[in-house]
Symmetry: C2
Subunit: 384 residues, 2 copies
């Protein structure tokens, strides 16, 4: 472990993280990568299959997305990482020249595979696509992410389920820590690809502490908080985020995985978290659920049949500048592809704009009042 | 009929058609509308439900589409023409400020409705959406198209099936001619909306002549050839187009409805046809069938798995400039929405570019050699 840690410390870190200012525990930061700057707190739209569903890469640029997330698990199964390597890596494949983060597949194995068998060596699982059997190891996960060529790779982890006994969580944690060390060792490019560790430990404070301390000792380029939003009560999730974020090194980016309810995001940013990803804006958009400055809208509702007003009169996105609720409802009811496009564009704009406002508020030292002011709007969007 | 004819002659014709040059019987023309110029021969992409499937109106502009077609039948059933009227008409609804042509619904009643009952008064049919019963008359069809506010409306017609006895075709023709007169009478806007008649008559030359003569007498703004590509052999279709086109007035636009095989288009343009519409480029795109300068490509084929080259190296569309066959195959296999977008964009570009080339060839008096040169490529695209 020490050898690995030393190797990492001596490597060429491909990312640089600097904190521009803080507001209580909230941080305004900047991650500099070879492919561009990521302003934090940052929202990473999810491009599971090397595409943010329904969007073109140009549109993602236009929305101001600074980094996209893609899924190692999905790309390993289809089209296969060797194919992406052959055609020049994931950036070229999906024509996105900005930073990319690849998830390690640990969560997908946990949530998508109908069968998984975990051992120290790795995880045997069944493909959700064709039922074929695969064996993922930390080494293979690093190999895949190396082939994809993402700017930030994630270590392979076991996502501890909820509920889990302390014993299960401890065992899961040991696996994850051991795998993290192996991932660090398996880095192939001398550190050009940043590598983030994932803190597990379920809802057990002492296990979260143990996980964080062991991983911090190994000196990763960033730290994620994993294993949350897997069924635990909100209060417990917030508590765990609050507790865990403070265990992480100040000078490294902190990433809360898979959390996208913006009330949770506010809570996490207040605790010092810097990075987020979630399918909420994109998945909800495809289901016709749209976030607005006046609360959530289900576009299929009868009342919008002949409503000539824009979805959100205060929104400046392409959808709101150009189309009426009546048209958006019509497209949705007709199951037109343009419906998913216009809805996704709007919801992503809502998210990315929210993050821009959040950063402004931290910059101006008014994050606490921003949070208070946003809470009722977000309640109407996320907890109706 | 004479009263109606007079009314039409005295109305403000919203379109002006001029022939710039001819090359044998092929015509290079220009339709001037209040919303813009349509260069002919013109291809009209189909936007059935007030959207060209998967495309944004901006993208259609970018592709160089000069006119879109939308469907009266579909928009009458959903969302309903009164709703579109309330929100300011179809252009505003779908945010397309260029010219629009609306099909009258005759063909859709024929091809989509599980039940139809035809009388002199009109057609009773069942909605393909919910099975509800509706009664379309020439007057209602004009009312609907008036509410939509298209630049070019089509008369309500009965699409004569194939095969049909002479007796059936004659009766169908009588209906269509009578309905055309009623449509002309039912114009509500004093001629601001152009109105095209539809020549029927099946495969019977004398009936096509009778139909054309009766309709020409009524003086419409343009003339369509309908009732083709409904199952008749290609040779018979070409013969009918050739024969019928020459019966139509020289100084009015001629529109061959629903034909999109570009070999048929070349044949029709040679016979003096000016306007076309077809779902071939868009529907094929969504099924992964792509037209290229080297023949048709089915993007799902195994051989493209790791092919880094563009779909069509000679194509300048967004898809070909940015993405590899490997990526397009991956998107298609993953049923990603972006697959349908990129494919549709390419196929529409292929069509619109083909029409641009065709116009250039007529302009330069080399349509015949253009046709000869294009034939092998088109065979590889349309008759493999």
């Amino acid at each position: 472990m020490n050898a690995a840690a030393r190797l990492s410390r001596e490597g060429n870190h491909s990312i640089k993280f600097s904190i521009i200012t803080t507001d209580a525990d909230a941080r305004l930061g900047r991650i500099t990568t070879e492919r561009g700057v990521i302003n934090t707190p940052s929202f990473m739209p999810v491009g599971t299959n090397a595409t943010v569903k329904s969007m073109s890469p140009d549109e993602m640029k236009g929305l101001g997305a600074e980094i996209l997330l893609s899924n190692t698990y999905h790309l390993y199964l289809r089209p296969g990482h060797e194919i992406i390597r052959q055609v020049g890596g994931l950036h070229k494949f999906m024509k996105w020249d900005g930073p990319l983060l690849t998830d390690s597949g640990g969560f997908q194995v946990f949530s998508l595979s109908p069968l998984r068998k975990i051992s120290d060596r790795g995880v045997t699982f069944r493909s959700h696509l064709d039922g074929s059997t695969h064996f993922l190891t930390p080494e293979l996960v690093m190999e895949i992410q190396g082939a994809l060529g993402s700017d930030i790779a994630m270590v392979f982890d076991e996502c501890t389920p909820y509920p889990a006994t302390r014993e299960y969580a401890l065992n899961s944690l040991r696996l994850t820590t051991g795998w993290a060390a192996r991932c660090l060792k398996a880095r192939v490019d001398g550190g050009r690809q940043a590598l983030f560790a994932i803190v597990q430990g379920g809802i057990y404070r002492d296990l979260r502490r143990q996980s964080a301390e062991e991983l911090v000792e190994m000196d990763f380029d960033g730290y994620a908080i994993g294993g949350l939003s897997v069924g635990e009560p909100k209060g417990l999730m917030h508590e765990t985020v609050n507790y865990t974020a403070r265990l992480l090194p100040r000078h490294k980016p902190r990433y809360l995985m898979g959390i996208g309810d913006l009330l949770d995001v506010l809570e996490a940013v207040a605790a010092g978290v810097d990075m987020f990803d979630c399918v909420m804006p994109t998945r909800n958009a495809r289901n016709g659920t749209l976030f607005t400055g006046r609360g959530r809208i289900s576009i299929k509702r009868e009342e919008f049949r002949s409503d000539p007003s824009p979805l959100d009169p205060d929104c400046g996105c392409y959808t709101c500048r150009n189309f009426s609720r009546a048209y958006l409802r019509h497209l949705f009811m007709s199951r037109e592809i343009l419906s998913m496009r216009l809805n996704t564009l709007h919801n992503l704009h809502f998210y990315l704009e929210f993050f821009r406002k959040m950063r402004k508020a931290i910059e101006q030292g008014r994050f606490s009042s921003f949070r208070k002011a946003q809470t009722p709007v977000l309640r109407n969007n996320f907890h109706e």
